[in-house]
Structures are given as C-alpha cells and as structure tokens.
C-alpha cells in the first residue's frame, strides 16, 4: 500500500522526474537489479493512472457480445502465461501466473477482442506493477483498476493493438517507420531493402508489443514511463529508427545473408542504452518535419474511427492500404512549408501559418525545390524556391515511368504479399503487380546514368543558390520537392507515370544517391497556392526568360521585399485566422507533453 505521503508526492513532483527516472543509477547484482526494478514499478503504480487518464477519457469499447474467450484462445493464453518472462523470478510464482491469465482473459472480454500473442508481454508489465505496488494508485478519488490502466494504455498508446483483424494500423505504422528511416538513414534503408530485410519482419514485434518483447523489465518500465509521460504515440517510429541508428554500423558491416539476424537481434538491452536511444529519438524528432507526426496521428485516428464503425473487413481498409502503400515518400504539408518560409522571412508572422497540431514547430532549414515546368514556375512560386527542371530530369522521369520502378515495385509487392492474406482485404491486392523478374538492364543503366546527371546538375544549381554546404550533414538542410499538376492526382497521390518528375527525382535522390532529408510537398504547387491564399501570403511571378539559376540569387531580400507590403494586413488576417486554424488543426492528438 502506498502511504499518503508518497501519494501526495506523486501528485506534485517526484524526485526522479528531473533525473530521467533514475536511469543513471547503476545496479550490480541481480538482487539489486530486481529491487531497483520493483521500486521503479512502485513509482509507476503511483504515477501511471493519472498519466494514462490525462487528456483523454477512456474510450468506450464498442458493443461486445463476447462473454468468454474461445477455447483455442484460452489454451493459447494458458500456454503463453507459462512462458512469459520465464527468466524473471517474479513470473514463476503461481499467483503471478494466475493473475496474468485473469488479466488477459478479462481484457479480451472487456475489449471484445480475440487474444493475440504479444498481449501477454504487455499484460505482464501491468501485473508486475500491480504486484510490486500493491495495485495502482491515483491522487484522484477514483483510481482506475489494473485492468483499466492496461486498457487505457493499449487504447491510447498502442495504436497497433486496436487494429481489428486486418493489421491495417500496423502496416500504416510500418510505412511511416520506413519513411522515417529513409528520411534520416537512407544508406541503411537502401541496404536493408536490397537485402530483402523488410520492416514487417523485424519491426513488427516493436510496434505490436511496444518493445515489451525481449526488452528486460527494468529497461521496459523506464521506457514506457518516459513514453507515457511524453504522451505522443507517434513517437514510436522515432524510437524504432533511433534503435536502428545506434546499431547502424553493425548492420552496414553485416553480410547480406546475416542482415536479417543482425536486425532481429536488435533490442534495448540496458538502461544506459535506453538513454542513448531516447536521446537519439528526440533528436530525430526535432529534425523531422512536423507534418510527419501530424499526418501519422491523423491517419491512424481516422483508421481507428473506421475500424470502430465498419470493422476491418470493409473495402475501405483496402483503399486505405492501397493509398498508404504509395506513400513511400515522406511528405510535408503545404502549410508547414509556408510556415518555414515565413519563419525565414519574418518569424513574427509565424503564428499565422503554424502548421503544427500543437507544441513548437521545429525550426528546419527547408530548401524548396520547385520542379514544375518553367512556365508554371514563372507564373507563381514562392520567392526563395529554386527552380529545377532540366532536360535530364525530364528524361529520367520518362525512363523511370516506363521501366517498372523496380525498387518501389518490389516494396509494394512485398507489402502486397503481406496484405494479401488479410481478412477481407484480398481482391484488389491479389492483382497487385508482381515484380517483373528481369527489368531491362539497359533501362536500369540509363536510369542510373540519368540519376547521376540530374544529381550533378542539382548539386551545381543548389550550391549556387544555397551555398556549397547545402547538402552537408552539419547544415542539416531539408530538401522539399514541389511538383505540379502532372505530379498529383485528384486524391493527392503522387503519380509516377503522369509526366511529372517528382517521383523519379525522389527515387534518384533517396534510392540512388542516398541523400538524407528529402521530402515531397503534399499536393504540390496547387496545395501551396491554396495555403498561401488562405494565409494571405502572396506568391511571386517572374518575367519569362529569366534563367532559373539567377532567380534565387537575392532570396532573403527578395522575401522581405515581397512580403513587406503585405505584412500589415497579414497580421490582422493572421490574428483573425489564428483561432480558426488552431481549432482546425488541433486534433485529438495527445501531442502536448
């Protein structure tokens, strides 16, 4: 039982709040470690209920007809309980096993779901905390039960567990994870992809059990505590990429045949490593366009809503996945591009175009590459955008569109294979294009040569516009590619064969050159124009015939000049709009920490 003193302490502030929950403590013997884990669990017992309830009321599960788990599930639960954290002494006690079994059974009944292996690893944490802390405690009059804490955790923090039968959310999460990996670690991403090491193989347990699988309990409790306190489920892909980043060298050094093994072995093995992973994840988060988390949280929220309404067998799931599959490219929303552009010119105006759901918009050095045909660019563009539409890029796009896009196709095919068997999702997936056994090697050669040529030209143009170091790691610039009408279809999907150049350029830069931090502006110029109009930001037109290289020459002054006249009215409009925008883009995302 927690004393009153400790409970009140929990309400205000805990001594370990500021020191990473005792992450730095060194434990030596197994006994000391166990004592420290139990102590930490007691602290979790006192703090988690309030943290889990924070912001979000517990969702009411849909009408459930389940009154008992079926025989097969009951058997699997029973066997899984016997093999839960077998190396940990607490889990060999019969009462712990009994409690775990009870918790799992009650969970499945309360949520109206079938038992899924992996859930036992999650439940184990709650059973352990309950045992160590004598139950969960809250400063509030009504403290949720252990089962309720367990339910709130899965509902609010484990999106992949509310996935129905179709694993739709898991696949979407894996896609976002892959985007993020490609964005920050393109070399590693490409190497894994070439070796056929798919995220669905190695990262599934991370997302399905939220790292509970194979992470030592003393590490896991601290990881989850930080994660719950942070309050943002879209942080999980950052953790996963951080885990990969820390092991990057081992992966790059591994033989291709052994890469699956190397990646699969990757876990957070110690409290010290957790600290490293967490720091790396926060750093990645700060270096990523906010659009990423915003979109991920929005898409998952929409999918969950649909799952609740329609179940995973409905054809909508198919279209969601088909759409998600095409989103290999990390996209930035037009309003974030605009916000960064205004930040560069007049930060005081930033509020008017805040793109973020909440919290702070990270300051990114966003370089906008306008790849539309010259006429479209000249008609209207952001003043500091660099126009880039050389003949080599057009040729590259033509060749790529005709040659079956091997890399993207391979990924799509791999994913399709995984999705094909999903209940109710068959049909369209079955017809997904199979990888052609032999791409024309001359096409591949031509693409490679063209890709290199395009990159050289980009390098020259960008160096002139943005400085020699525009691409260097230290500059940490983010390159956002802005396409036009030919690049986007009516449902805002990036076209690969419609005469646009975005998809081919993205592929060349990320797949071939392994350039980090390349994104695509969602919806292209049309979306940007709409946003600019909405926010009262005027786009610029340039006289026909001016060479694109020189257009960017005076960009900071240019920006100021362009904006100066509009500032006054913009401020007024911004203030009026701000409230509306805030409501519009403040989602249900529990992003605030």
């Amino acid at each position: 039982m927690a004393s009153e003193r400790t409970v009140s302490r929990a309400i205000f502030r805990l001594p370990w709040d500021d020191c990473g929950m005792g992450d730095s403590e060194k434990v030596h013997t197994a006994q000391e470690e166990e004592a420290s884990t139990a102590e930490f669990a007691r602290q979790c017992a006192r703090t988690w209920p309030d943290l889990l309830c924070r912001g979000k009321p517990q969702e009411v599960a849909g009408i459930t007809e389940t009154v008992a788990v079926n025989e097969a599930d009951a058997h699997t639960i029973k066997v899984d309980v016997l093999r839960t954290r077998g190396a940990h002494p607490a889990f060999s006690a019969p009462e712990m096993r009994e409690r775990l079994q009870e918790l799992l059974t009650e969970f499945c009944i309360a949520e109206g779901v079938r038992y899924m292996q992996g859930l036992h690893e999650v439940a184990a944490v709650f059973a352990y905390i309950e045992a160590a802390g004598g139950g969960f405690h809250s400063g509030k009059p009504q403290c949720p039960t252990t089962l309720e804490c367990f339910q709130m955790f899965t509902q609010n923090f484990m999106p992949c567990f509310c996935d129905g039968e179709g694993f739709v959310i898991l696949h979407i999460t894996l896609l976002f994870f892959r985007q993020l990996l490609l964005y920050h670690l393109p070399h590693l991403h490409n190497q894994l992809e070439e070796a056929g090491v798919a995220p669905v193989v190695y990262a599934t347990p991370w997302f399905i059990t939220l790292f509970a699988y194979k992470t030592p309990l003393q590490v896991l409790l601290r990881l989850w505590h930080r994660y719950i306190r942070r309050g943002d489920p879209t942080f999980v892909p950052f953790l996963a990429v951080a885990v990969m980043e820390l092991e990057k060298q081992a992966f790059l050094d591994a033989e291709e045949d052994d890469l699956n093994f190397a990646v699969d072995r990757t876990t957070i093995t110690s409290v010290e490593k957790l600290q490293d992973v967490w720091t790396a994840a926060e750093s990645l988060h700060a270096k990523t366009p906010k659009s990423f988390s915003f979109r991920m949280s929005r898409i998952i929220a929409q999918v969950r809503e649909q799952l609740r309404k329609k179940g995973s067998g409905h054809p909508w799931a198919d279209s969601v996945l088909a759409r998600a599959e095409q989103e290999r490219r990390l996209v930035v929303l037009a309003r974030e591009v605009l916000a960064q552009f205004v930040r560069a010119s007049d930060p005081a105006l930033l509020d008017s175009v805040q793109a973020v759901p909440s919290g702070q918009l990270p300051s990114l050095r966003l370089l906008l590459l306008d790849v539309r045909p010259r006429a479209a660019y000249e008609a209207e563009h952001l003043p500091h955008a660099l126009h880039f539409h050389p003949p080599s890029l057009q040729r590259l796009a033509q060749v790529s569109a005709g040659m079956n896009r091997p890399r993207a196709e391979r990924l799509a095919a791999a994913l399709s294979n995984a999705i094909t068997e999903v209940g109710g999702l068959v049909g369209a997936r079955k017809e997904a294009p199979e990888v052609k056994a032999a791409d024309s090697s001359s096409d591949i050669g031509e693409t490679a040569a063209l890709g290199a040529e395009v990159f050289q030209e980009l390098q020259a143009a960008a160096s002139e516009a943005w400085g020699e170091g525009w691409i260097s790691e230290s500059e940490s610039a983010h390159l956002a590619v802005l396409g036009g009408e030919a690049d986007w279809d009516s449902s805002q999907l990036c076209k690969t064969d419609g005469g646009g150049v975005v998809a081919a350029l993205f592929e060349a830069l990320t797949g071939q050159v392994s350039l980090p931090r390349v994104s695509v502006v969602l919806g292209g110029a049309a979306a940007l124009q709409r946003e600019a109009e909405k926010r009262g930001v005027k786009l610029e037109s340039s006289s026909a015939g001016s060479p694109w290289k020189s257009e960017s020459a005076g960009y900071p002054g240019n920006v100021r000049g362009m904006l100066s006249g509009a500032f006054k009215s913009l401020r007024q409009r911004a203030q009026q709009a701000q409230q509306g925008i805030a409501q519009q883009i403040q989602p249900k995302s529990p992003d605030a920490t």
Binding site: G86, G166, V200, Y213, E421, V422
Partner: protein, 207 residues
Amino acid sequence: MIGEEDYDHLYKLVLVGDATVGKTHILSRYIKGTLPKAPTATIGVEFATRTVSLDAGCAVKAQIWDTAGQERYRAITSAHYRRAVGALLVYDITKPATFKSCQRWMEELRSNAEPDIVIMLVGNKVDLAEKNPGDRQVDFDAAADFASQQGLLFEEASAVTGANIKLCFDKLLKEIYNTTQHRRDREDDPTNNFQLQGRSSQTECAC
C-alpha cells in the same frame, strides 16, 4: 561441425504450424541441442542458422526462420515465406486441430514461398504418447497418408527427447539439395537463383 562461413549453398527454411506445437523447441533442440531455458511465445520471427555437410560432400547453411504460429498472425507471417526453399510444417500429435490446420499451412507455403518448396511434415511431442498412449490423437498412418498424398516428407519427432529432430532437418536439407541439384542439371544454369548466394570460398561442390 563445419565453420559457419564455409558453405556451398544457403537454404532458407521456415518453421510453421499452429501456436504451441513446439516449433521453437524443435529449433532450439536442433541448433543448441537443448530446450530453451526460458521459453517464450514467438512474436514475428526468430532466426537461427546451422551449417551441415551433406552425404554428397556439400556444405549447406540452413537459415531457419521460426515464425509465430497464432492464426491472427498469418497476415504477417506469409511475408516470411518469400524465397524459402524448405519448410518444417509442425503439428502436435496430441492435438488433432493442429494437424487439421496443416492443409492450410501447406497452401500458404505453396502460394508464398518458392513454388517447388520442399515441405517436411513433423508430428511433434511423441514423448507424450510414449509416456501415455492415450494422449495420441493423430495416427501415424493418417499423417503419413496425408504426407504422401500431398508430396510431403514426414516424420514424427520429439523436441523434448530430441528423437528424430536432427533427422528431420537432415532429410529436408538433402531433399532440397536434390531438388535444386536436379533443377541445376536440368537448366544447366550456373546463376540459377535457387542457389541463394553460396559464398565464402566459392569452392565448387565435390559432388
């Protein structure tokens, strides 16, 4: 045992079958010679390798993918079968439902793995039937018939006692070797992609 890096062929094998039939136990027995100290339910996939020399004089490296068995995971596990040339399809001889599932597992293997994947059907937990004959719920003959109808290899085994475990893998690897050798002879194509990057010394087989 041969050095890990000294092999002529690399074969990807998958271990499939319903949850709790003992796939991970079989793997542990084969790779380490013991049962897992702290057994866990496999989430996603686990990997292990073992390099063995075949009678023919070739060294093959078996890259074994141990998959999650629960039905709910099938949507994901089918992604694990790609490029697999062999499979151990395991059921529990004391649980008829696990044998019944074999048909479905087999179909999934055939549609997701290499088209002429070699499958070894394994009836696990014979130790239970030896201790108490009443525990046996799947007849040897019924399983053997099913295997021969479907063109599967078949053995009964016990991960607990170790009986037949090595035999299962040896027979499977040998059959894969024969199949791919036959294919190589037939196609006379040295770059045949059935031979997954045989590496190391790149020595030709003595066979």
